[in-house]
């Protein structure tokens, strides 16, 4: 039985509204009334938006899709924290039972030089795709793979790779980092593939090309603030950044003039 039965609460929202990437934006105030505590944060937005549409106003734009915490589409800074106050949670899985009647809730988009605002809370995260394109994969074509059990992999190693592979690419790590660094994102992918014998082969080149691409897209570097790990909805550890650094420095000593 549910621990706390649902009730209705009223909230005051202060939401970042911005018509486009090059237009000045600002916070606007909305009253969210009769919000069931069983709703998700995004369902609360749905209710507010239904009201705005009927009033002939522009509804709040926000990215969202699966609404079960796995696609990585949603995300906003809620009261100063990426994906809101609960740890290990995406915005779509943040439920209103974590808010109190009368709360003022400030909602802002991810802010980073590398993420241009598209509209309101929607940002352009294609920079993360570009980092993956630079080398976040194992270079095998379809066909010709050996039998899946040909190379045994220790369960602990495979589990570590899976921990790193859980990244959903939401960008919360970038949004919460004072340097707007994407090191946790890059570290997770580099670690996953480096840990596995199949991916280890290209690990040196991969670390260098992914870091160089990250730098070129305007992300900052890591200064061990640790905010990314705290706000990561999938609990990805900064140990992965250490693994990335090790791969990167090792690779740099191998390829002094950069890897092409």
């Amino acid at each position: 039985m549910s621990a706390n039965a649902s009730k209705l609460i009223n909230l005051t929202l202060k939401v970042w509204r911005q018509k486009g990437p090059d237009v000045k934006g600002g916070l606007e105030t909305y009253e969210a009334k009769d919000i069931s505590t069983d709703m998700s944060f995004l369902e609360m937005f749905d209710v507010v938006n239904e009201g705005l549409i009927l009033e002939g106003k522009d509804p709040i734009s926000f990215d969202h899709d699966c609404r079960e915490g796995i696609c990585g589409a949603c995300g906003a800074v809620v009261n100063g924290r990426a994906h809101g106050p609960e740890e290990g949670t995406t915005l779509c899985q943040l439920h209103m039972r974590h808010f109190d009647d009368g709360d003022v809730v400030v909602v802002e988009p991810w802010r980073s030089k590398a993420f241009k605002i598209v509209k309101d809370l929607v940002v352009d995260r294609s920079a993360l795709d570009k980092i993956i394109q630079a080398g976040g994969y194992i270079s095998v074509n379809t066909g010709g793979a050996p039998d899946a059990n040909a190379i045994p992999i220790a369960q602990e190693v495979s589990d570590l790779a899976m921990d790193a592979a859980s990244c959903i690419g939401c960008g919360a790590c970038v949004a919460s980092c004072p340097n707007a660094s994407a090191m946790l994102f890059v570290g997770a992918k580099v670690s996953q593939l480096k840990l596995l014998p199949q991916g280890d082969i290209e690990s040196a080149k991969r670390a260098v090309t992914m870091v160089e691409t990250m730098d070129s897209l305007g992300f900052g570097n890591c200064t061990n603030e640790g905010e990314c790990e705290v706000e990561c909805p999938k609990g990805i550890s900064i140990t992965n950044i250490a693994r990335l650094n090790r791969s990167y420095f090792k690779a740099r000593s191998l390829f002094k003039k950069g890897v092409n």
Partner: protein
């Protein structure tokens, strides 16, 4: 006449024969061909990568901001393959048979056999890509069981198998983007298929950021646009999943098959409010250890822990002793509904049954259960604020997957030349019910191992670049798309598209959901027609066309669901038998199981569009079973 173009020869040799006989495109000529792929789920991403590796120029489109977010990402439980690593008697033939039987003998033998054959290549390919599948202590791959099978053939990566497989395919595609062989277009929604002289020649999309209508031509179009489960409004699908691309292709002449085959998944978190935007699936893998039950007495409102063992009804174990809690999805869902309809449902609404891990925790220990299902339990607790380690989960069926889709022949080509359809968007492999862990298998089979061969057979006979965007059909289509958006914006009524979509969902759920009957379906048809009128006279859409406008995007999708919903009902009315996910109350056995009518309905329905307000034209593809015996499905 529908020609499924099934190759000659014995079942085991058909795919080999096809591959040997298909015409090839010379490597130097491949680079002259442009192929459009719409959708970047498992099927679309793997097809884009594999075709680019072969040398074709691929243009790939997705609706999300990143191709990594396609809804395949949400698949939890696993992917089937006939590896027989567990030495429990699995084989290609057994996987083929289980899939045919699970689909209630309404799929094509040759397609399903090919699927089982390539299933093993998929696992090899995925491991080579660095997908961290679960492993045993010795380092070899682990398996688990899924519904409808008595062998352990499901490979998994915790509860995030879809995510890992999709990221593998996304990685492979990203590599081809870097190589310049795939050009990626994000935040684009396909709004029309362009057909010139009976051949698919390109698409018209809306750029969701700028609102511009854009035209793209190619030598072939591949649609990997997913299913139509969101017709029900509430489903386990992502919010953007829609039928529009497939529906537009249907209106341009591609036949649509079996639209009434929808899969209602038994283990979802129950509905708890009318604000609810979607339903969350709890992986079927939970039925390996969870026991499904309701109180024996109707109206028993005690807490589950206060109900003694003797007063619980483990109805699946009781009715189906050999498969128990692992009966196929359609059977599990229907039984849950039956219990709730008899007043034995639990929870606030009475539309839920228990899924209880008490015995598994006592047997294997909490740690072991946590290891297998930790993230699912966490997700359940987050949504419901109840702890499944100490109290049973509550679950209820929800719309999850659609077996119906655009008709394709053995080469995955639709009735329109040059239009190929892969993954959930086609109808081909699951018959009237899909088995768990088979959607991932089919998406990747189509994309990695089938389409890249078969599309060559079409392109080998084509001349590259025959039609470009300057062809008048493109402008005509773009104009129609623009006019539709303008019309939606001009109505200025007082209902939102979500509001109307919810009403459509309720009609379909009540009359074309887990159980159907003729009177209900006839009523639903009228109600949908009325609702469509309401939509076009009383809709209110915010904003303008030339901007990022999610409300307008949705409105256009709902407009298509309102037309397509009627096709679902029409198909359900045609099929006067029960099979798999289509349970016609007028056709059941004495024990209330689905009763097929093989004499009259051993066929695929394929509907052809005849114009606005016209009844669609029915075509039939008769199914021939030469290798399995048609039998009443029994899981007892």
């Amino acid at each position: 006449m529908l020609d499924s173009k099934i190759p000659e020869g014995p079942l085991e040799k058909k795919w080999d024969n096809y591959k040997f006989n298909v015409k090839l495109v010379n490597p130097a000529n491949k680079r002259k061909f442009n192929v459009i792929v719409v959708g970047t789920g498992l099927a679309g991403a793997s097809a884009s990568a594999s075709m680019a590796e072969l040398g074709y120029n691929v243009k790939t489109f997705c609706i999300q901001d990143s191709p990594r977010r396609a809804h395949s990402i949400a698949a939890q439980g696993g992917i089937n393959a006939a590896k027989n690593y567990q030495n429990d008697g699995d084989s290609v033939k057994r996987l083929f048979y289980d899939t045919i039987k699970g689909g209630d003998f309404r799929a094509r033998e040759a397609n399903v056999y090919r699927l089982a054959q390539v299933s093993n290549n998929i696992i090899d390919q995925c491991v080579a890509q660095g997908i961290p599948f679960a492993r045993e202590y010795g380092g070899l791959l682990a398996n688990r069981s899924f519904g409808g099978a008595q062998v352990s053939r499901t490979f998994y990566a915790r509860g995030q198998t879809g995510q890992q497989l999709l990221l593998g395919a996304y990685g492979a595609m990203s590599r081809q983007i870097q190589a310049g062989k795939v050009k990626l277009y994000t935040r684009r929604e396909m709004r029309d298929l362009v057909v010139v002289d009976g051949k698919a020649r390109g698409i018209v999309v809306r750029n969701l950021v700028t609102g511009e209508i854009e035209k793209y031509a190619a030598d072939a179009v591949v649609m990997a646009t997913g299913g139509y489960g969101n017709a029900f409004f509430l489903s386990t699908n992502a919010m953007a999943c829609n039928v529009s691309a497939a529906h537009k292709a249907y209106k341009k002449g591609a036949f649509f098959s079996n639209p009434c085959y929808t899969q209602i998944h038994p283990t979802c978190i129950p509905v708890h409010g009318d604000y609810q935007s979607k339903l969350t699936l709890m992986s079927e893998s939970l039925r390996n250890d969870g026991r499904v039950w309701v109180p024996k007495e109707a109206g028993d409102k005690r807490k589950p822990e206060d109900i003694p063992e003797g007063e619980r009804d483990y109805f699946l174990e009781r009715k189906y002793p050999s498969f128990g809690n692992l009966v196929p999805r359609d059977v599990a869902s229907r039984n849950a509904k039956e219990q709730c309809d008899a007043g034995k449902g639990v929870g606030e609404t009475g539309f839920a049954v228990y899924l209880d891990f008490r015995d598994a925790i006592a047997r294997d220990g909490r740690d072991s259960i946590e290891k297998k299902y930790g993230n699912l339990f966490q997700m359940y607790e987050r949504i419901t604020a109840a702890d499944p380690y100490t109290t049973p989960m509550m679950i209820y069926p929800a719309s999850h997957y659609t077996m119906g889709g655009l008709w394709v022949d053995y080469s995955l080509q639709s009735t329109l030349k040059g239009l190929f359809v892969i993954g959930e968007a086609n109808f081909s492999d699951h018959g009237a019910n899909r088995l768990g862990a088979s959607a991932l298998m089919q998406g990747l089979a189509d994309g990695y191992f089938i389409l890249p061969y078969t599309i060559g057979g079409y392109l080998a006979g084509a001349k590259p670049g025959e039609v470009d965007e300057s062809h008048p059909e493109f402008s005509k289509s773009a104009k129609e798309v623009e006019e539709l958006y303008a019309k939606l914006l001009s109505i200025d009524g007082d209902r939102t598209c979500d509001d109307i979509h919810k009403e459509l969902g309720k009609i379909l759920w009540d009359y074309c959901g887990m159980a159907r009957n003729e009177a209900g379906l006839l009523k639903a048809k009228e109600m949908i027609a009325d609702l469509r009128k309401e939509f076009w006279t009383n809709l209110k859409v915010a904003g303008t066309m030339d901007q990022f406008n999610q409300n307008l995007e949705n409105a256009a999708r709902v407009a298509d669901f309102l037309e397509f919903g009627e096709l679902m009902v029409t198909d359900a009315l045609f099929r006067k038998e029960s099979c798999g996910g289509h349970f016609n109350e007028e056709s059941q056995t004495e024990e209330n199981e689905a009763k097929r009518d093989d004499e009259n309905f051993c066929c695929v329905s394929a509907w052809g569009y005849r114009g606005e307000g016209e009844e669609p034209e029915l075509h039939r593809e008769e199914l021939a079973f030469e290798n399995v015996e048609l039998s009443q499905r029994s899981y007892k």
